[in-house]
Each structure stands twice: as structure tokens, then as C-alpha cells.
Subunit: 527 residues, 2 copies
Amino acid sequence: MITGKNYVGNVLSSINTTTFKTFNPKANTENEIVHTEASEVEIQKAIYLASEAYKIFHTISGIKKSEFLNEIAKEIELLGDELIKIFCIESGLTEERAISERGRTLFQLRSFADLVKEGSWVEATINVADSSRKPIPKVDIRKMFVPLGPVVVFGASNFPLAYSTAGGDTAAAFAAGCPVITKSHPMHAGTGELVASAIINAAVKTGMPNGVFSNLNSSGIEVGVALVKHPQIKAVGFTGSILGGRALYNMAAQRLEPIPVFAEMGSVNPVVILPKAVKKKASEWAKTFAKSITLGSGQFCTNPGLILGIKSKDLTNFIQFLGEETIKIESTCMLHPIIEGAYETNKSKMQEQKGLQTKASIDKELTTNYGHQAIATVEGSTFLKNTTLHQEVFGPFSLVVQCKNSAQLENIISNLEGQLTGTIISEKGEAEQYAPVVRALQNRVGRIIYNGVPTGVEVCAAMVHGVPYPASTDSRFTAVGINSIKRWVRPFCYQNWPDELLPDELKNENPLGITRLVDGKKTKNKL
Amino acid sequence: MITGKNYVGNVLSSINTTTFKTFNPKANTENEIVHTEASEVEIQKAIYLASEAYKIFHTISGIKKSEFLNEIAKEIELLGDELIKIFCIESGLTEERAISERGRTLFQLRSFADLVKEGSWVEATINVADSSRKPIPKVDIRKMFVPLGPVVVFGASNFPLAYSTAGGDTAAAFAAGCPVITKSHPMHAGTGELVASAIINAAVKTGMPNGVFSNLNSSGIEVGVALVKHPQIKAVGFTGSILGGRALYNMAAQRLEPIPVFAEMGSVNPVVILPKAVKKKASEWAKTFAKSITLGSGQFCTNPGLILGIKSKDLTNFIQFLGEETIKIESTCMLHPIIEGAYETNKSKMQEQKGLQTKASIDKELTTNYGHQAIATVEGSTFLKNTTLHQEVFGPFSLVVQCKNSAQLENIISNLEGQLTGTIISEKGEAEQYAPVVRALQNRVGRIIYNGVPTGVEVCAAMVHGVPYPASTDSRFTAVGINSIKRWVRPFCYQNWPDELLPDELKNENPLGITRLVDGKKTKNKL
């Protein structure tokens, strides 16, 4: 049952008088449940509990952490249809999407459970002593990853499950050994509370310290600001707009003790469609990209918002096809009137730019809050001169840039901001001929795709979802896949430490049986 | 031969009229060579060359990079006595120290050469496709580390070789595939130029692109500021004061595209001496720490500037011994009159604090520019109230805090800022009894030492030299050891990329024979 209250540690709490409701964009009405904003007292309490919980939680074994993570997954499953229902009425997304996103969330939680149960992720590294070394004896040094401390996670508007309350950031932080306070996304506060209840149940059942998790409601920015500025908070995870992410990054950088902010922000995900591919498969690629552009009303950070080609009759045909295919697809509901409104505003702003031609667009009044897709095109030289054209329009919109030649194409790519993904559409042997273009694209992105679409982010160890600014604030980490745990840990080493006082990961006997790097050799053996 | 000029890529250049000289603190005179400050034109040229060089250098094989790094080491050796001589007259440090620091520098360069020659450091990770997976076929994803781009390295005053021109930051950046521009430290610009000439010779001999390295002179802050603010610079390495490091960090965070700054800054390196150890071995530990405190005139970031114990007659004895032993040691020359002046100022400021007692101090006029050591003590409650007492005094000074009890000791540790190291001095079985104290210390440091001294940083894979702020600006990385390469790289992945277009590290055949993580299994096998 959704109460509208905050979870301050294990306790439901609502002492504030400020409240808000979520919105059902499909029905175009407010949802009934009244959510109470977290108060200053509750924020302080949640942070205090998190720092106290950290003292215990950061030393908890990988096996116990895996039980906690698996139990969260189980408790989320137990929420059953109630979760799916609230997800749909708070997001306008389909039941099918809700179920698939829940599946992804459970998979992420269980992947991290497996990772910490096995235990080698701590990258235990041992260099043994050598008392006979000249001129100075060599000391014994043993290193492993340890958690940073309490982490704040901001729920994402476009992933009410997979990148919100118990999403990738939270799962990775728990796996690392960091308590988490989520700043619930106001557009799906009910979904957030339900998932929070699952986490709290799991924490109690598996004996985690009170404060390992809190979930705070807020419809404004104050709660988030208070959390990020607090000295006891040691890192921040955020998925959302460049404006929001950069504001948090700036706040964290200006603290007396700056802390890492991993913000996964906007991206136009450039797609380069090479001449032979355009010539041979214009209609096929047009169909494929029309689907990718309109998927989930274009509300993905990997949505292909920019397509680059070299001017030709074939490219003109492709643009024609792409427009036709895109408007053939039925429009779908966006997440919230605010998001739909911003989409229309940004799309219009784009369409008003000098030299931009709208090739296809659904203008007719469809159902309220639906995202009306559009395809536009512009000359390469115009695009180069006007950086407004480089900006993301969050929603089902894509801009095709007609470059003069491959030099201009390369130049345009080099002048783009950092991007989550880049895509090359090529006939066999063609990409090789455009090596400088491919290289330029690699330098701007975190993931490069060959003959595919950027939407759909596989959750696996090899995935990179974290890239040059402004697609993210720290390109040295990924937000998706098990390596995302590294955002929330730091290396720590022991020098000449007595074996019996070392954590199990570093003991001579290797009681956990993990893989370790001992004097340069990977081994599971004891010392 | 030292010319006093800048290296702008492979070319010696001096177009500015502003010049400066280095200083010989032992002789208390200026050195003869005139160094020319880098001009705006030279800065821009160096950056342009670095970005052009990056296009080639980031794709160069590990074997070629290892040749380059080994050749740098060889060229530095070839500089022979000229390097040792200039090192000494620009730093006041001994010939023995110069030789040992050169040894360390060569070792670092060769360690990185070995690392990139072997090649597995890129952490190649492959998840193969599965077209039969339901509901969505699984794509092929392959990940590896790639270099960030041109890096700026600031020379450190206290390590003219190991943490300056061809020091740890530069070696790691070259190994990663990043061109480097060093902002030479003005106190040892001659040493810097000589080492720069070795790098340039090595670059030319091994066919590296012009611009892979530049060395710019500057006695003020303008050159550094211009470098850090330039859009083509993608990361910064710095070793020095909190004031300097934080200024660079702020500048980098305020850029349109924020970039990572790894600044290794101040630290007081708290040492906890437990009651039984004080009782049993007061004189022994006093001797050991007197040596550590005065080593290199205390000019190490790991210098033990703070010793914490529990008030007792034994601790009083220890303080007495420590004072006696410390002033027995002959004072040595500091790096520069500015550093010696700052030491005297900071020491006096400390000594003027209410409640602080100077227990031993060399006040008599010794040779100019020498660091006159001192030991002081203060009550725990006084220390807690006055954060001035928490600050580093860079030089041979240490403060012993007498805590009321173990709870106050724990409280004091929890209230310290982040530290490079922490040390526990314990009799057998004693550390276990002080588990909360040990845990509190672990949370504030990057390296924890048992019954040893923090000075002396072993260069090995398990070393961690990078810690909670303000000891460094990003605790998730180490500045020492081969893992320091990770500061200058980002993960990058290919999706469904044709095998023949993949880099060798990710090809099916595994032509480099490196260890890779293929579908969760570590293997050197081909696919």
C-alpha cells in the first residue's frame, strides 16, 4: 500500500505540511495519493542514520550483501500487479514496458548480488615483503576496494524502475557497501515508495542496519540540494537533464570537501549513414530508425536525435523515407505534461532555426500529452554555425544533417559535444574508407555501434554508458553494467598489517577463494 | 646542456622577454641559467601540437609505447652527472637522494613500459552476441580502456624527478596514450629542461608524433591557468599545496566541459601510538619517528606531522624522548628560501596557538635555508576545538596530541580531514582492543601502516596514494603504482563491430595474447 510518506531509515514518516500528487498523463488527471515532502528534520535524520549504518554496512560480507540484493529483487517481485499499475498511471508508459523494465531492474539487482557473492570485484592486490631487498627492505602492501560512504541517488523521470529507487545506481552502491538515500522522482513518487518498501523489507529480513536506505519525497529542488551539500554524503548518482546534472555537479565541486557526482545527462547520439548504405538500403534503414526514434516516445537517453550523411540524391530519398516511416508510427503518451510541453517547446525552437526544414511532422491535435514525432533536415554548413541545432530535443524528434563531403562530416563530428553513443551505418568495406570519420566519432562517444540502433542498452560487463561531458560528468566510469560499482568505491591499502586483522579478501589463506593479483600474477591460491 | 628555453613539441623556443632563475638554497645564491617563461603563443602551439599528436598517439601499439618509455629511461640515464648536479643545486637535496630519486623515476618508466607491452591493463571485456535470446537478441559488446586526450602535468617542488617532468604522472599518461604538456616547476626549471630533452630525444628516436610532449617554463600561475582552461586539455595531474591543487580543481570544474583533476595535496599522516606500545617501547619508537619526521627536512607528503596517544606517564616519557631524539638529528637544507620561510611561518603560527607546548625545538641560527625541527604537544580537547592545529606544517615538525581516553581518540580521528596515510603503533593483540579507533582511521586514509613509518612509498601494484579530500581531489584513484594509469583513461565499447575493424585488443583471434574477460571468464584464448 502506498502511504505517501517518506522512509527515514525503516520508519514511514511525514511531518511536513507540503504535499504533492503525481499525474496520469494518459488520463490527463492527477493521481489520488497525496505525497508528503521530506522536511529538514527528516533529511538530517536520514543522513545521520546513513552515516551510522555505514559503520556497520561497509564491513558486511559479500555473501550478506548478496542476500540483501537478492531479497530486494524478491520483494519487488512480490509487489506484483500493484507495482505495474502504479508505474503505468504515473508514467503513461505501457504495461509491457513496465514489465520489461521491472525485469531489467531485477536482473541488475541479481547481477550485483552474484558479483559481490563471488567477491573478486574488489581487485585484491598483494605485494609481499622482501626483507632482503637493498638498499631498503620491501614492505608488504595489500590493496582492495572499499566503499566511499553514504550515496545519494536521484530517481530518473524516464526510468521509474531501472534507474530510480532500486535501479542501477542504488544496486551498485549497495553492492559496493554504501548506504543509499534516494531523492524520489516527483513524477513517480508512488512507484518510488512501493519499491522503497521492498528495499526496507529486504533490509529488515536480511539484518541490514537501520539507515542503509532511506527514500525522501520532494517536488522541488530543496531536498536534493540539502542532501548533496551535506558533509556526510560522499557521492551522488543522477540521471536526467544537463541543467539538473550540472547544477548538482557544481554544488558538489564547491563543497569544502568536493565529492564525485556521476550524472548521466543528455545526448543526441549521432548516427552516420555512409553513402553506399544510403544508396543500397535507404528504405530499410529509414524503417529501422523510424522505430528507434519513436520508441517509448523518444524518451531514451540513447534516442538517435541526429543523423549525419553526405549530400546526394540517395540521402534526399532516405530523408523522404525516414519522414514517411516516422509519421506512419502511432504517437504514444509522454511521461508527464511538463515533459510533453518541453518537447513541444524545444521542437518548435529547433524548427524556427534558420535553414532548418521540417520534412515530416504530426501536427494535428492528437490525444493530450502524446509526443508528436517530427523529422527535420539542415545543411552541414548551417549546422556547424548554429550550436542550437546540436542540442537534444528530448522526445521523438530527429535532425538529418546533409554534409557537403566527408571532410565536413568529420569536422561536424569533431565539433559535437560528448555523446553516449555513436552509430555507423555502412555497407561492407565502407567504414574502412571513412576511417577518419569513424575515429572522430570514437573520440566523442562512449559506445560505438555498427549497423544497428543506439536504443536498447545491454546490461553486461562490457557495456559502457558514461562518456565525455555533457553526456556524463565523468567519462572514466560507466553507469550501466557491473563495472558501475567502481563509481562508489576507492582503493585502500594495508602496509605490514597482521594477517589476523586483515579483511578476508586479503588474508594469506584467501578464505573467500577469490582471484587476486599476487606479485603480478593472477591467482586463487593462498600465499 | 640547459638552454633555459621551452620545448614546444620537439623545438626549443623562447620568444618571451620575461625570465627567471632558479635558486641554490645550500649556497644561498641564484643559479646562473636564465629561464624564459612560456608565452601565450607557445602555450597555444604546445596545445595544438598535443591535440594533433593525440590523433596518432592514442592508436599507437603497446609495444611502441613501451619502446618510447624505455627509451626515456635510457636517455635520462645518459644525462649522467649533469642531471645529478643540477638536481642538487636546484633543490638543496643530497646527491644520494638525487640518485635514489632518479632510480625511482627510471623504475616507474620501466614499470609502465612493461605494463603496456604486456597489454592486459586495458581490461578487454567481451560479451558475445546471442541471436537466439528472447525477447530481444543479444548484441556483441566489446570494451577496453582508451586514453582521455592531452594531459597537463604540474611539476612537484619536492620531487624534481619522480613527480615532475618524467615522473609518475607523465609516465602513466604516456602509457595510457595521452600526450603530455608539463608545466615545469620554477624551483627546478633546469632539472626539468634536462629531463624534457631526454623525453624529446626518446620521442624522436622511437618515432612518436611531434607534440606528444612539451615542457613549458613559468614562475607564476598564468601558464598553468591557460593550460587547465583550454578546451583541448582533457585532464590534469598536480602534486603540491592544497591552495594550488584546489585552485586548479575549481578552474577545471568551472569549465564548460569539466575535466578530471588529480591533485595530490597536503597530509598530516596521523600516527596512533597505543598505550602498551608507549609503555614498552617509548624510546625505540621515539628514535624511529624522529628519523621519519626529519627525513629530507620533512619535505614529504607522507611526513608524520601528527601523533595521537592516550594521556599517561608513559606518553609523557615518549614525548620527552621524541623531542630529544628529534633535535639530536642534524638539520638539513630545505628546497628553497620560500619553502623554508613558509615552514617557519607555519610552525610559529602553530606554536602560538593556545594550549600548545613546544617540547623541543632548534631555534639557534643554523645555516640559512635549513629546516629547524620542532616537536610540540597539546591536549585532545584543545586539539578538537581548534582546526588550525589540524593543518599541515610542511617541514620537520610534528605535533603530539594527548587524548583523554580512547573515545576522544576515536572522535579526534573522525574529525580529521582526509589523509594519505594513517599508522597504528601497537603491541601484539593491542590493535584488536582498539578496533573502533582503527576503523575510524581507515575511513580517513588511503594507506594504513602497522608498526612502521609512513615515509617511503613503495612503487607497486598494491600501493594506494590517493585518498579522501584534501589529501587528494579524487579518492577513487592512486597517484603511485601502475594503477595510476586509470586516472587518464576511460572505458569505451564497440557494439556489433566487424572483427577486422576492431583494435587488436578486442579481435576474436586475440593477436596480442592478452588476458580478457569473455562472458564472465578470464582467458587468453581466442574466441
